[in-house]
């Protein structure tokens, strides 16, 4: 569904993404793992048009996305949930969701039912201001708002940030349900265990390059991941 080839992205003259190639098959969940600063967020921002790639191509359903601005990317069906969530704190839950459906207001009612089914908690709090929700609820709302735009591909950037372990588990159960509904997911995560529970395919980014790519099962027991996070030095003790 999404094909990224030899993508270079950077700020000024520093390249953060250095020739990343990856594929996201339709209907599956794919994870991008890697430590802080490995370029996950930069990659996502480039995918949705918030950053302009230096070179390389992004194909979505076979059509190049290069040069599109974020609103147009959203219209194509790629929706990004930033790690910062980027909610509208003073609008109610319902209004946040309405804005999520900005590009497709007609589908609002049907999407709303679907989203409330998935996150019943949000239905209870529909007229509460987003800023007053708890961290977990805010994350749910961020994902729900993205779902309102009828995404074909959902980009999730560190959805577990700042959540307690129990909430992380719950969140991933919802994501699993979403995947079964047929939404393709590309996930950046620091919480390796959680990500591996959802995703079949894994890319490990390290300093802007793909250090490992393969099935989740082949990552288990591989030393690549650990090396990416903690470097080669600690490996002596293993």
């Amino acid at each position: 569904m999404l094909e990224v080839r030899e993508l270079w992205v950077g700020y000024n003259d520093v390249s953060v993404i250095r020739g990343v190639t990856l594929e996201v098959p339709a209907g599956e969940a794919t994870a991008v793992l890697g430590p802080n600063g490995s370029g996950k967020t930069t990659l996502f921002r480039a995918l949705v048009g918030l950053l302009r790639p230096r070179s390389g191509s992004i194909l979505f359903e076979g059509v190049p996305l290069n040069g599109l601005r974020p609103p147009q990317v959203v219209q194509r069906g790629i929706v990004y949930v930033a790690a910062e969530r980027e909610l509208f704190p003073q609008l109610t839950v319902l209004e946040n969701l309405e804005l999520g459906a900005y590009c497709c207001p007609r589908a609002f009612q049907s999407r709303l039912e679907l989203v409330f089914e998935l996150f019943p908690r949000l239905a209870e709090r529909r007229s509460q201001r987003a800023g007053t929700l708890s961290g977990g609820e805010q994350q749910m709302l961020a994902i729900a708002r993205a779902l309102m735009a009828q995404p074909k591909l959902l980009l999730l950037d560190e959805p577990s940030t700042g959540l307690a372990p129990l909430l992380v588990a719950e969140l991933y159960r919802r994501l699993e349900a979403l995947r079964r509904e047929g939404v393709t997911i590309l996930l950046a995560e620091q919480q390796v265990g959680a990500a591996l529970s959802l995703c079949a395919r894994v890319y490990v980014l390290k300093e802007g390059r793909v250090a490992f790519c393969g099935g989740a099962s082949s990552l288990r027991g591989s030393s690549e991941l650990r090396k990416a996070y903690l470097g080669g030095i600690g490996g002596v003790g293993g």
């Binding site: 520093v14 390249s15 802007g208 591989s222 903690l230 470097g231």
Partner: protein, 262 residues
Amino acid sequence: MSPQSEEILLRCCEVTKRFGGLVVLWEVNLEVRRGSLIGLIGPNGAGKTTLLNVISGLLQPDSGRVEFLGRLINGLPAHAVVRLGIGRVLQIPRLFPHLTVEENVLVGVLFGRRKPPAREEAQEEARKFLTLVGLEGKHRERVGKLNTQEKRLVDLARALATEPRMLLVDELMSGLSLVEMERYTTLLRRIREQLGVAILWVEHVMEAILGTVDEVVVLDHGAVIAQGSPAEIAQDPLVIEAYLGTGAREVLGAHMGYAGSS
């Protein structure tokens, strides 16, 4: 170690900082000895840069004390802290674009020291530091012409030009290739050996830091969760959890060498 090298330069006692309701630093205790090289690591949003900002006087802590050479320095403006001997290298270099490379460093020589040298001497000093960081021959260029790596080096030279006793370095490595990282680590080691400057080095590229520093301090959610030698830190379950998340240990446990421990 000789008693002199044991001398404590910087001491943070129970430093707490909030932004609105968000606690960014929670009772952080930290000691930096003369001439030591300490790595400060932690996941995104752990409060590393905030801690550096508090130490360098750009932010004031809500409570707690920051002492430098036994003197309380919280409450002092940043320029006074610099003159006391704490240099700062920013993550994204902010240079003076209308000045040449040499003039940028000259600013540090002339204003960052308690007793600035006379004009000819100052110019020589500035060149000395540019040579130290490997920018000789670039001193007449305008900084806008430099690439980001070179800008970082100018920033480093400027901080060194203030003759600090301690250098705060913020994520020098982001966006670098392995070869470039090597260069920086060598450079920082040389700075410490040649100038006897203590370095507190914030980094999230763990690999770069673990092989270089004497001691590692790990921040997570604004609190120090671990402290010790690089080898200890790399095995610390709390640290691994902070970086990789819960569950990672179970997944990777077999390979980590402490399966089943919690």
